[in-house]
Amino acid sequence: MEFTLLAAAAIAVAAFWLMLRWEAKHGNAAGCTLDLWDAGLTAAAVGLAVGRLVAMAQTGINPFSDPAQIILVRSGVSTVGASVAALAMFAFLARKSFLEASDGIGPSALAGLAGWHIGSVVTGSWLGTVSTLPWAQTAPGSDITRHPIEIYAAALFFVAAFAIAAWKQKGRPPLGVPAGLSLAAAGVIRLITESFRVSLSGGPVLLYAAAAIGGLGVALWGATAKKRQNRAATR
């Protein structure tokens, strides 16, 4: 029985919870009636289950004849399936105050992703392509130095999470902008760090690019909402 994935998940959940708590002290998600902790965990659990089912279907395993295999998370979870399902579940749960809830959960979701990447050090899959940089690391028993990509990803996700959260507290950005920037940051960070990963498939680059572009679009839409309203009022 392997518990390393559970440890990684626990670190991710802890980081998500800590960020939510820290932001709550500063009046996070004002006007949002949704319990963000509950919604975040539900969306993540649904995303994980759907991602695993999609991965099973892609590898020719019938979920109806082999239902027990759904718990073999380590053997593969479809990133695209999991991300789309988690976002869809969150959108459904937050349908009454979607933008407020998305702004409220954005930085915490980034912190959760940072926690997950820290957890990848525990699972052992944290090194990437070969590197001669001073901070490059080796796998146990190897003398090949490599990029510690999970540390890069964790650091970038934490920086993005704190930057957006701090801006939310001080700058009071327009509705939708923190959520859009969080989504864009997730896409950009994964695009950067995945380029250092040793991979068989190359990773879902299109998904990350779509998240970056879509997130920037949402942020831009939110930032210009007031201008549009004013223009409409003066007509």
């Binding site: 392997e2 395993i61 380590r74 053997s75 593969g76 796998a139």
Partner: protein, 159 residues
Amino acid sequence: MQKRLFLVIAVSLLAAACSSGSGTLPSDAPEEIAYDALVAEITTSGTPTVVNSWAAWCPPCRSEAHLLSTAAKLNEDISFIMLNTKDNPTDAAEFIAESFSDTPMTHYADPSGAVTFEMGGGRGLPVTFFYSSDGESVHVHLGILDEPTLAFYLDEINR
């Protein structure tokens, strides 16, 4: 007389049922290999080698089969040896035909699990052994493989 006849028929049927299939392996069942022969194959191949101990009755082994098959197709410069361990030959042959039919892999059987044990496994299936081109053991992965781990150790043994 009738009782004796019935007894003879019953014993004959039982004997036939017990003997059916035993002793005749399916023609496409993996061939049994000894530890020394497997080590010789790994050390003399001159290529990096991955040995995966698996069984058809083991759900995690079945689950990682697609990943190993993809990796073998993408890395034809690496030898993939699938060691069917403590398994029913018919089930093994069926699973090989189903999952590895057009994959560049070598299949062997380890009916007692002794080969896997001597290689450093033996604490459950699946187990994956990674060897460099000079036959040196680089890593033993106990349990199910994920894509980043497999890709990483393939890169390690291929350098």
